[in-house]
Assembly symmetry: C2
Homo-oligomer: 328 residues x 2
Amino acid sequence: MLKSVTIGIDIGGTKTALGLIDELGNCLSDDTFPTCAQEDFNRFIANLSERIEKLVVRFSHACRLAGIGVAAPNANYFHGTIETPSNFKWGRVEIVKQLQKHFHVPVAITNDAKAAALGEMIYGEAKGMRDFMVVTLGTGLGSGIVVNGELLYGHDGHAGELGHTIIEPRGRQCGCGREGCLEMYVSSRGLCRTVFEFLSSRRDDSKFRQMSFSELTAKKVYEAAIAGDSLALDAFEYTGKILGCALANAAAYFSPQAIIIFGGLANAGDLLLSPTQKNFEANLLNVYRGKIKIVLSRTPSTPKGSAAVLGASVFIQKEFGKNRRQEI
Amino acid sequence: MLKSVTIGIDIGGTKTALGLIDELGNCLSDDTFPTCAQEDFNRFIANLSERIEKLVVRFSHACRLAGIGVAAPNANYFHGTIETPSNFKWGRVEIVKQLQKHFHVPVAITNDAKAAALGEMIYGEAKGMRDFMVVTLGTGLGSGIVVNGELLYGHDGHAGELGHTIIEPRGRQCGCGREGCLEMYVSSRGLCRTVFEFLSSRRDDSKFRQMSFSELTAKKVYEAAIAGDSLALDAFEYTGKILGCALANAAAYFSPQAIIIFGGLANAGDLLLSPTQKNFEANLLNVYRGKIKIVLSRTPSTPKGSAAVLGASVFIQKEFGKNRRQEI
């Protein structure tokens, strides 16, 4: 009998990753290519379809493709669309319909942070949990929230915009047109902004005094912190402080069992995690204290380095389950 | 055949209300009595049991008691307990166990705000909705959040502590031991504190300049506002501003279809609702604008004036449904 497999796809601002995943979560083969988000979407979908086909054909002697799960920024689960994410020139694209037409299997799309949460629930830090949050720290800040064992979508699919809660009235300008959003403080861009705020308000020396705003990256701040640059170290401390306070408020809404940190900035490890945990605990309401762990993600990556691919695969498998329940 | 009825109980800081409710939500009879939260719990439970019995006996020719639902502050759904609410001298009490022993029917307890949310879902403003929030404004601020048609409890029953999200770091001291909690600004106590903050920072005349902190009540602020006292009017405006901003952040977590305002302070009507709606809309992320309504509760009250009694009755009926599903 042919083995049932799914394709998980993780569309990022710069790179798209896909993998052929079996029902036990083994990645049989995977692939990555540049997203080219500034170019035509039709070119992207042709490229993606070709690469999916290659993976599937290679294993067609032993496997049957059961479905395709897609994780992308600004994904609309209910409409099957990607809706004009910032840094993408695609506008609103009906990616689910296009992949369905091509492959004649069930296709569904969800937000990248939501897919990460599902990956974490099945293979990562949230195994066996029914109430937890995943916070993804990359260029921006996303969140995937699981309540009663199910992803939280809200009435229109837009729940979980933790990055756009306002934590500082009249604070830093955000791309969303408002001011003081959490992701302007806690994200790789936020970290760089903090460095520049410190350069303006403090007197101590730092290698960043010789660097322009455009040159600065979170990676450079990380390397400077590791090398002992006090301004870089404090920037991480400040980022963790803001994140810890924000998560203490999130805990009062959800009372989760764990909060899992995922994505590029999470690679800073204890530099970010320690101040986050400390400020989280200090700002928690009594009933939650000592009960909620904040940990770094442990979802295994595909060989080519994407963890969200596994989440996207879990996502489409869960969708099968939902459809089966509806049929009964 | 005997009609199946439930008892709904709403335990408040000053008054306890109970009602005998049929399956269509009709209140066949109801009762209220002073809670006497400063006295012995055993006295309370004896009094409550006697009054339940009277209601049930009166209708025993036509009705069969199917269960008892209790709504109370600091209720723990999982343990069946009330856990040391402020202003109560009871400590931690096993109310569910005691009522079960007495009446030999299913008994369950939930937070008052959560019961209000269920009442709203079946009989009030949230009819047919699966994602909405109820915010109860009384002495404090509570919330009942419904996600995918189910109450949000979190992993330990403590979800929905919206009143204890910190909205002003180093802000007003809260009874929870921290500073800047939302309920210190938006609640009847919060409103009074705002009046005193304004008395200290402003120069305009007000009838409250002749009143002590202990004398001031939300009702007096309301009456002064209606009479045109500018300080009282601004206190409502400020309360609505803080609430609107806080709810805009809550919307980014949950993307609810509606937010319903319930409880004593909600009786101030447009005085509170207008500034809340205005500041909510102004602080919302783009994708939510114009989509989420903020309205006052419309759950019908029992003849003696409690709406939460109906919610408590819905709650125990939903518990039956859960048990039935588990049996299948």
